[in-house]
Symmetry: C2
Subunit: 318 residues, 2 copies
């Protein structure tokens, strides 16, 4: 069985292109560009909680990094560096090779250096990644930036990952749906290009209602969303009874939700065509008085409010 140091050397120690020191010292050493701000985010995936035992190692390597890059994208930051803390039941070489393949394929596509980490034995497979990105001073998108009258936009389609989770059999038939759950594509380029166009942004990890709720709370505004305007996968035609909950409250889509002033519509539509990423206008930010502080109203095609539940809470259920 390879030792801790062999594991790092064989599977994870690749030359860092944008670091003074990468893996192998007490710390990584970076030299951020002057005038740039540094965005930092951390996310953990735990066996039995975020993925099933026996989940594909390559997909896990991809997803563990993807969820962090998605957070960077939501701030408008360009990803640069990551650290990886792995707690593993055993030093399974096939698993490690697969995980590294998934991780580095995504990392290299976005110019991310793995600059440090920690490898430990644990009965429960746990993957923690901290990602660092850079954004020019003053243009990062905050959750607190939404203003009454802003349009609310989302990228891609919502609810697909939640449907794949609830209908694993269906996911096997429709690989595109399974990919949404297991290999989400972080909207890195979109996030960077939204700088200056969007006022507030968040990535949809816990579901539309919960994540939009964070923007409303931080921005001290309300919102009205037209349910019919929310893009969703065609597969829901066969699962009407699951649709609303998946689309409004299903997690794991890793699309971007952002708000922008109305005069930006043309530029946003042009960006959508250029990047070949669907961007849909699904509603509008309201003053607090109209909808209540942080209040989200979702309307059906007849203009009637639809009940919905908030986002996923890790401590809400047993």
């Amino acid at each position: 069985m390879p030792s801790e140091f062999e594991i790092i050397k064989r599977f994870f120690d690749r030359p860092a292109r944008h670091a003074l020191v990468g893996i192998g010292d007490d710390c990584a050493l970076l030299r951020p560009d002057a005038g740039l701000e540094l965005a930092v985010t951390t996310d953990t995936l735990i066996e039995g909680r975020h993925f099933l035992p026996g989940a594909d190692a390559e997909a896990l390597g991809h997803k563990a990094l993807a969820v962090n890059l998605s957070d960077l994208a939501a701030m408008g930051a360009a990803p640069r560096w990551a650290t990886l803390a792995l707690a593993l039941p055993a030093a399974d070489e096939r698993w490690l090779a697969g995980f590294a393949r998934g991780f580095f394929a995504l990392a290299e596509r976005h110019g991310v250096d793995l600059v440090g980490g920690d490898t430990t034995r644990s009965p429960l497979l746990t993957i923690n990644i901290t990602a660092l990105g850079e954004v020019p001073a003053g243009v990062a998108m905050y959750r607190a930036g939404a203003r009454p009258g802003d349009d609310i936009w989302v990228s891609g389609e919502l609810g697909g990952a939640a449907l794949a989770l609830k209908q694993p059999g269906l996911a096997a038939q429709l690989p595109e749906l399974a990919a949404r759950l297991h290999r989400p594509e972080p909207r890195v380029e979109l996030g960077e290009r939204l700088r200056g166009l969007a006022r507030a942004a968040i990535d949809l990890s816990d579901g539309l209602a919960g994540d939009l709720g964070h923007i409303l709370e931080r921005s001290q505004v309300g919102a009205v969303v037209e349910y019919a305007a929310i893009p969703r996968p065609a597969a829901f035609e066969r699962f009407r009874e699951l649709e609303r909950d998946c689309v409004l409250s299903g997690g794991d889509d890793y699309e971007l939700l952002f708000t922008a002033a109305q005069p930006q519509r043309r530029d946003i539509e042009a960006l959508s065509r250029e990047l070949k990423i669907p961007l849909s206008r699904i509603g509008a930010i309201q003053p607090n008085a109209a909808a209540g502080a942080g209040k989200l109203v979702v309307l059906d095609a007849a203009g009637k409010p639809i009940a919905h539940r908030g986002g996923f809470d890790h401590f809400a259920s047993g």
Copy 2:
């Protein structure tokens, strides 16, 4: 039971003094000082592996941060920011309050802002911290910096944490010994003051033999250490049979080991007096030819080599 967001708000959301955005957005947003380099390190503590079930929450909050600050100190970096990923079996408010107390007491003492994190439910308590620090350009201490003829120095005493681990009953009698294991004091100020004095440095987390071995390997040199010169707690007088293994190969001391050119002896001794931290000269770096690449020779009082085992390997035992 408090929700994930309430946990963060109640126990962890304190104003960040040195960050544009702290907890509560997709990412933290920092503005590193121009001309400084950024040191990044990550460490995980896992129940049953790094601490026993039922371990004191306040001590854990302290130690989880301390082991990361110790890595920063070994590079000569001043700690600035940290992220915290907590995986918890339950949202136990007393535990959370204790953990936060231990964490923030140490963080505030060293001016560290908690700027982000992630809270998840998991059957196995797992604590991951990523810490970021700053160091002026060009003065960080690398593992690769040791040169033949350098003195080898250590701070404090070695082996105490390992003894406390092996003799928990003794640790109860000698609170100072228990503190070495459960509440290690990272050598933050010493690390910063060694800039320009030390050539190579590492923190002793896995034991003297293993960690000095990393310096030897990276610097392509050998070393001779005089066992009698290694400072150790007086409690070993009652446990002679445990002493050598604890002193040479016991982990968790979080002292600094560093090498320095001989002309620096006076300044290092003056620094020791000023900081009131014992600094002991325990041996010398040798050219590769004398001791073999990366070879560590430990001599007893009669000049005979002492057998020793390398550092802790998380995957070496079942």
